[in-house]
Amino acid sequence: VILPALLLALLPVTPFQEAPRAPWAPELVEQFATLPVQDGGRVKPLDTVAQFQLLRLNGKRSFETAWGEKLDSTAWLMDCLFYPEVARGYRVFLVRDQAVLEAFGARVEGRKKSDRYSYDELVSSRERREQLLSEAGRIHEIDERQRSSVDAQLYILAVNVRDFENLLHALDFAHDSLPAVSTPFLLEQFGSEPLVGVAGFLEHLPKLRERLGALDPASQKAEVAALGDVSQRLYELVTASSALALFPPEDAAQPTWYLLDGAVEAAFAGHEPGVMGALVADMEALARTPDERVAFASALDDFHGRVTALARGRGEYDKVPLEVRFYRGDYFTRALVFFLLAFVLVAVSWMAPSSRWLAAGVWTTAGLGTLFVVVGVVLRCIIRERPPVSTLYETILFITGCITIVCLAIEWMQRGRIALALAPILGAAGMFLAMKYELKEAVTARDTMPSLVAVLDTNFWLATHVTTITLGYAAGLLAAALGNLWLLGKMVGLKRNDAAFYRSISRMTYGVVCFGLIFSVVGTILGGVWANYSWGRFWGWDPKENGALLICLAELFILHARMGGYVREHGLAVLAALNGLCVAFSWWHVNNLGVGLHSYGKTEGVILALTTYYGIGAAIVVASLLWRQWGRASAPAPAVGDRKGLPTGA
């Protein structure tokens, strides 16, 4: 008894903090998550908006509160809206460098260099807030490419703070009152109690109009002037609370959903407040009853029913529940987990190569990882009603899926465990890259399913040119992985005496290069044909076009060099590895040159990652060339006639 008591006494004491509100019931969170909202040019679930908002601020989609409650993004958004005083204290602002805080005098002592802060910690006073905004204004004037790292982070932080404030104040209108007691007439209409919110005012509107019409012209003029003050205050309230476009217009021809101010304006415009008035009233009811969960659930039910009915009437709700399920499914994280698991099994299987169980385990886990990628990509296609690739983010998913499928197909044909070992490594690398890039997308596009610019808004060309060229990238990268495997394997002495193992890799490399060449050539020409339809020229030496041409030329060079006998196994591996660098240049680098018609994929920080990749790739190639040269120098000279008249090359 004494020992446990002593141990307990030695444990660090975590200060107990009482939860300031009751936890959200899962069904309420679910209903809130499936509310449709128009954002970024499309209708999506509120859950998606919440996820990307939190991802932008926090770098993660969930966090733990000071009282130990784990909050997902929708619950966090609900707190922002219904418990703003609580949400201000959540440490969800990720700041990677304290210099960012120092730039506007917000340094908090005792924190790590990269740490999370609450809104109250960042913006502890009006002066601090003004300093942050003033710094953001200064940085706004600097060209994006010229901004220092601290400036770039500070600017994003300022934008995040502003967006967070918009959420905190989104329901203020429901708590503030309107000055509707300034004349006896208004007192008679609205009573002596303060008129809190705007729904009450909207409700009185038809009668008010009627009674105003009955007044003599002089009184009417005075009352209209008094009402002007009410309207002005109302306008200020609803404008300040307009954060989310949650109100689908009844007129299907009107494409833009209303923010709160638009909904109130629409309610004003009609003879009766109508459905917009009812939605505003529902929202007020929600804002006033977060602690009365029965009433809250009822108001949420009403609001959800009305909004979804309107959205369904416009044909804009069908994909919303599916999108919620897609994000809840977290397919790409699951794929990453399975690929990592498969990788571990591959590593173990190298120690026990004869184990059928381990091989079956690798097949199962790598297969499941691939399946999750494929299901995720297919669901995205259904949600977007687009072919699989229309953004840079989707190229990562598609390429990863294709590479792992091809690896598994090769393994099925060859049973050499080479492609089976590559599948989880490349799958995990692809999913890791996708997760990193999703963070970038959260900051820049606020969505991984953004609206497309006019020229890309064509499913035919996205399905043909983009898909084909991306398949070409996938093949180029897989061939590079095989080439690198050959080079590294030879250098570290893997299966030193197994020539068949290396011949097998060479055959696969050659086959994948051929496969890549078909897609790269057809994709590049199709791109030219699309350009001819869009811009009136087949070829314009644009960087992205040149990138695609580079891959074609590199792969044609490999094939001709091999057919001419200038390269054999080692040369093929070297060239395939170099072609991988070429694919990276075409896939990512050209978008970051800042010139040309295809500059819509610019990504901060990508050049550093690319330089590292080029460096590693080049180092492997150079090392393998040196290794071969050293091997030749130390080997006995071949007898005359050994080469049988064939050119040798690399």
């Binding site: 128009q38 059928r356 044909m413 060859q414 078909i518 339809y533 800042g594």
Partner: protein, 393 residues
């Protein structure tokens, strides 16, 4: 001689030359892409892809065959090696088809380079035009300023103007004109301004105005050229000088032979066999965003008295009479609602318009002919091999 020609033919059709040229074109493309970052597309294109040779200073000093040399030799190599000297058999049928497709693609590029015209047509709603303007070729036009109805213009083409720098001048006469014209002082990019003390004129000061030279913009279509014209009346010998800044709204005018003449430096104009009238231009944004979802122009094509309504939008151009009109851009940018808008169409005359599509089909077929049998053989051999080792794994 036969041996020399034989050796030459073997060299020109060799894999070695193919590899060298492919590598060379690879490097040209890589360097040409990176060069665009600081120097713009036009200069990079001229330096790397439309040149006979290239002197590259970094990352390592290199003298390389330029794009014209490289692609010319590659065509020859492809023709001799891939079509003439290649062994003709069922196994090589696919390779021959691929090379035919590539030859068609290269031919389409050559035809485009030699015989195509491109430019743009800008119309406000309600406006009509039967000509389009080059993006960067210039011409000098002279016409009777008082003429009404169809006006006869006397044109001096681009090639006769662009070398008139560094003191070079050129005289132009026509029996139909009562004066001689001497042109000189061509500037690629300049502005005509009242001459002040604080800047050096790049031309003679005429009527208090002179050209201020501007840095040449790498994006060629952004430059506004300038010329100086000296007019000598053939009857009286009277002379006058005029600054001709490009893109001016009004031409310069002078008197000669009892008439008032107008003279202007402008983008080269190409006649179209039909006229286009812009009825309506619409730009639709994605809901709640300032991101264009679509641009579309409702136009009327007028030809021989017949009018036909056509819609031109992104990815859906109008093809007619050997010309293709594309929705290119619009303006004025940021115009408040109700402001009259204009629509800009890219106009291209390209005899090889569809050849790349045909070549894509041919190359695609050829690649399938080559690689599908290989893939099939690979699958069969690997399955057989896997079975022979007892399906270990």
């Amino acid at each position: 001689v036969k041996r020399v020609f034989g050796g030459l033919a073997r060299l020109l059709s060799s894999y070695g030359l193919a590899c060298f040229l492919l590598l060379n074109l690879f490097l040209l493309t890589l360097f040409g892409t990176l060069y665009q970052v600081d120097n713009g597309l036009y200069v990079a294109q001229k330096r790397y892809f439309e040149s006979w040779w290239v002197v590259q200073r970094s990352p390592v000093p290199l003298v390389m065959p330029g794009g014209l040399t490289c692609m010319g030799l590659l065509s020859l190599n492809l023709f001799l090696g891939g079509l003439v000297r290649i062994r003709k058999s069922a196994r090589t049928a696919g390779v021959i088809v691929i090379h035919l497709g590539v030859a068609l693609l290269l031919a389409s590029g050559l035809v485009k380079l030699q015989f195509s015209d491109d430019g743009n047509l800008r119309l406000y709603e309600g406006e009509q035009s039967d000509e389009f303007e080059s993006y960067y070729l210039w011409e000098v036009a002279v016409w009777d300023a008082a003429a009404t109805g169809p006006v006869e213009e006397h044109l001096i083409p681009h090639e006769q103007l662009v070398d008139l720098s560094e003191g070079r001048t050129r005289r132009f006469t026509s029996p139909a004109l009562p004066f001689e014209l001497e042109l000189g002082n061509f500037l690629v990019n300049c502005r005509a301004m009242p001459k002040g003390d604080r800047w050096e004129a790049a031309s003679p000061v005429i009527g208090g105005y002179a050209f201020l030279a501007q840095p040449v913009d790498p994006e060629r279509e952004r430059n506004a050229a300038g010329l100086v014209a000296r007019v000598s009346d053939r009857a009286t010998g009277a002379t006058s000088q005029h600054l001709l800044p490009a893109l001016e709204m009004y031409p310069a005018t002078f008197e000669s032979g009892g008439k008032t003449w107008a003279i202007a430096l402008r983008h080269k104009r190409y006649p179209m066999p039909f006229a286009i009238r812009l009825e309506d231009f619409r730009k639709e944004d994605h809901p709640g965003m300032n991101l264009a979802k679509s641009f579309e122009s409702d136009v009327v094509k007028v030809e021989g008295g017949a009018a036909q309504k056509v819609r031109i939008q992104m990815n859906e151009p109008l093809r007619h009479g050997g010309l293709v009109l594309f929705q290119s851009s619009w303006g004025p940018e940021g115009a408040p609602p109700g402001t009259p808008l204009f629509s800009v169409f890219s106009v291209v005359r390209n005899p090889s318009d569809f050849w790349p599509l045909y070549s894509c089909i041919v190359i695609g077929l050829g690649l399938l002919l080559v690689f599908l049998p290989k893939l099939w053989r690979f699958v069969l051999s690997q399955r057989a091999r896997a079975q022979s080792v007892g399906g270990v794994s």
